[in-house]
């Protein structure tokens, strides 16, 4: 008879108490300037980290030792669950996701303590207060509506088991990356609040938190892409994004964070837009909370929804507190924030970035409005409607194409005032190449106007980047021994700029992947007997046989299919159907052959017990791999951008 549930609960309550204490003490210390209080709150932050880590370790230990006296363990694993999934089951459901979030927050708080206690004495106590306050909320959720250590009586002999769709590498990494992104925005938000509360509404909060914002943005991008990869290779519909409400909820903070990343550059250079940047970070953080609210409240149906109980109400209350509180602070400090905004010209980098912001915010608003419209319709007219892909695609595609164009214009157009000479020098060749590319592709048979436009824009942006890089390297060659060292030196010395370029390249690759896969993928569905084949896009898929096997926690039927391209046999694919005792219907697992340009994708449908026939869906999805490659490029770009500055002092 273990006492893990009670011990875990005690740890949770202790963490809550400590976080509340640390938050109040830090705030009082900041307001009154008493150093001793500051030290006390630091110790509280360390204590919170220790307690949360103990909670996690306790829960993982419970998973590993099959401690079914804890309801969460019993609901998410059983004796057949493989070892590594027993660990990752930690974040497989609602309660665990909260504890993961709280733990990441405590880690970030610790880092903030370590990094800034000496360096930013004015901001730091308020930052700590805000972060501990937010952590306290999550501990509150862990204590009342969603306790991870709730006891289950009587103790069942075996657990229910993990949702089979979660037994996958994508689901191991997707929540972690996503949460690192979401929680990462807490730090810039806390600094922004500290700036507002303390009245130091200058540009410091932005400079200090620049790297945090980039890192959080990166993890959010990664989380979204991994989610797409998981959807693509597990769910069996051959797609990677469905405009599901929860996908949208993760996408919105990404859009506002992207806007923030760009407009802070204006504030750093020109000391303008302070009010706007503060608004953006509040929106971004608010949207991350909105996302978790949406997943857990059940108010909008979704593939992702965990929901149950009163968790949703807690999150809505907290969201209200955060938004009303932070915007009120903003209104209070309004006078200090009004800048002497002046632009030299409407044709300038500042304008390009401002336009970028308007477009990104328009996209955010579109996604938000579409996501809550069903609720609005029901509230106003009592009629349920659905808002899905046709709407989001229609409205967002023009905005994203315009953003692609800006990606080429922004980095090269001059600050302040772009002369005709500057414009011609930087953009004439890329524009020409873009138009020519469109023409060539049209001749090659691509008729879809949107795809042509997308490709032309991608060509345009690529040439702007290449041209700039080439010119810069050539200029640097005068003082460097060789091309390679010139290029390397350039990248390292101006890592922010070129990191940004590489990130843009990554986005371009993703854009190509999206355009190609939407326009050129094909599929078919058919029933085959052993030996029969189906043909699609030059591939012949032949049904060989069916085989049944017993695995640790499920029963599996695998179909074997040989794929040939003309004469040569290319691959043998083995899509399967897994029957889990705790699930009502079998789960289909696709098998695929990935390629640079096209993926062959086979899903096993119905089959006869004796193997005399099987129904399969075959898809040839084009350009999907470019999405994942784009993600890798994005990683390199982000890594480059956050390197420490090596620029020699001006």
């Amino acid at each position: 008879m273990t006492h893990a549930p009670e011990l875990g609960y005690a740890l949770t309550v202790a963490a809550l108490a400590l976080a509340v204490y640390g938050c109040s003490v830090s705030a009082v210390g900041a307001a009154s300037g008493r150093l001793a209080l500051r030290r006390s709150s630091e110790r509280a932050a360390i204590g919170v980290f220790v307690l949360t880590t103990c909670c996690i370790l306790l829960l993982v230990y419970a998973f590993l030792t099959f401690d079914f006296s804890i309801r969460y363990v019993a609901s998410n694993t059983n004796r057949g669950t493989p070892f590594y999934y027993r660990i990752t089951a930690l974040w497989g459901a609602l309660e665990g996701s909260i504890i993961l979030w709280a733990w990441m927050l405590s880690v970030y708080t610790l880092i903030v303590v370590a990094q800034y206690r000496r360096r930013q004495p004015e901001f730091y106590p308020w930052v700590l207060a805000v972060m501990l306050g937010i952590a306290a909320f999550f501990f509150l959720v862990m204590t009342i509506p969603a306790p991870p250590f709730a006891r289950l009586t009587p103790i069942p002999p075996d657990g229910r088991g993990l949702n089979p769709l979660l037994e996958d590498s994508g689901m191991i990494t997707h929540p972690v990356a996503l949460y690192l992104g979401f929680t990462g925005f807490t730090v810039p938000f806390a600094f922004a609040m500290a700036a507002l509360i303390s009245g130091r509404t200058g540009d410091e909060w932005i400079t200090i938190t620049r790297r945090w914002t980039i890192i959080a943005w990166y993890f959010l991008s990664l989380g979204l892409l991994i989610g797409g990869w998981w959807s693509y290779h597990v769910l069996g519909w051959g797609g990677y994004w469905a405009w599901d409400p929860v996908e949208n909820a993760a996408f919105m903070p990404w859009l506002t964070a992207t806007a923030l990343l760009h407009s802070v550059m204006i504030q750093e250079r020109r000391r303008m837009l302070k009010l706007w940047n503060l608004t953006l970070i509040i929106l971004t953080f608010g949207l991350t909370l909105f996302g978790t609210f949406l997943t857990r409240s059940g108010i909008i149906g979704s593939v992702h929804a965990f929901s149950q109980g009163s968790v949703g109400q807690f999150f809505l209350a907290f969201l209200a507190l955060v938004l009303l509180g932070s915007f009120s602070l903003l209104a209070w400090r309004f006078d200090r924030l009004r800048g002497q905004t002046q632009l030299d010209s409407a044709v300038s980098r500042e304008s390009a970035f401002l336009l970028n912001n308007v477009l990104l915010l328009a996209a955010t608003f579109t996604v938000f409005f579409g996501t809550v419209f069903p609720l609005l319709s029901e509230a106003v007219r009592g009629v349920k409607v659905s808002v899905g892909a046709p709407f989001f695609n229609l409205v967002n595609i023009p905005v994203f194409l315009a953003l692609l164009f800006l990606m080429g214009v922004g980095p090269l157009i001059a600050w302040r005032r772009a002369s005709a000479d500057n414009l011609r020098r930087n953009f004439l060749k890329p524009v020409i190449v873009g138009i020519v590319a469109a023409g060539v592709l049209r001749l090659l048979g691509i008729g879809n106007a949107l795809v042509l436009l997308c490709m032309a824009l991608v060509a345009f942006v690529t040439v702007t980047i290449a041209l700039d890089f080439f010119r810069a390297v050539r200029a640097r060659r005068r003082t460097a021994p060789g091309w390679l060292s010139a290029a390397g030196g350039l990248l390292l010395n101006q890592n922010r700029r070129y990191g940004g370029f590489v990130v843009h390249l990554g986005i371009l690759v993703v854009a190509l992947g999206v355009a190609g896969s939407q326009a050129w993928s094909v599929q078919t569905e058919t029933t085959l007997e052993p030996g029969q084949s189906v043909e699609l896009a030059g591939y012949r898929v032949r049904f060989d046989r069916l085989a049944a096997s017993e695995e640790s926690n499920h029963f599996k039927v695998t179909g074997t299919f040989t794929v040939a391209n003309g004469r040569d046999s290319l691959a043998v694919l083995a899509p399967a159907k897994k029957f889990y005792p705790q699930e009502q219907t079998p789960i289909a697992y696709v098998d695929y052959r990935l390629g640079l340009i096209e993926d062959l994708y086979v899903v096993l449908g119905d089959f006869a017990r004796d193997g005399s026939h099987a129904t399969i869906k075959v898809q040839v999805n084009r350009m999907v791999s470019w999405l994942w490659i784009g993600g890798l490029i994005l990683t390199l770009g982000a890594a480059l951008a956050i390197l420490p500055d090596r620029r020699r002092p001006a």
Binding site: G236, A242, D244, Q342, L354, F369, P374, G388, T526, T585
Partner: protein, 157 residues
Amino acid sequence: MIPPGCARALATAGLLGLLVCAVAAAPVDENTVRAIGADLRCVVCQSLSVADSPSETANQMRGIIRERLAAGDTPEQVKAYFVDKYGLWILLAPPRQGFNLLVWIVPFAGLAAGLVVLALLVRRWTRRPAGGATAPGVAVDEAMRARIHREMNEMNR
């Protein structure tokens, strides 16, 4: 993370297969079936279309789409049939009429409003006289001008 019902249905790629070659009567264009399916919401999975969803329900609905097209219905009539049976929410995007027109108009209106506000702000901000050394007409000596030029080039990279 995923409620059992939907995820299972989502990943179940058809308990009963559909023999494409067994459809009799008028030849039905699969692209039309897909196009109609793309506008209908799969009822067991909240955000996928009937065309995309691998669930059994979507499978059956595609079969019914094929049947009705083969019997001579137009795509609009097929969609109207589903709306009769399930209500407006079966459509993946609301029809462009009445209250639902809002969802189609508001985003574009928002974008337009944003652009207008931006244009106005830019106009106001560029009209403000620029204070300081960059004001035109201030005499700047040649060496200083050359140095400014050089340093600005350096900055603008």
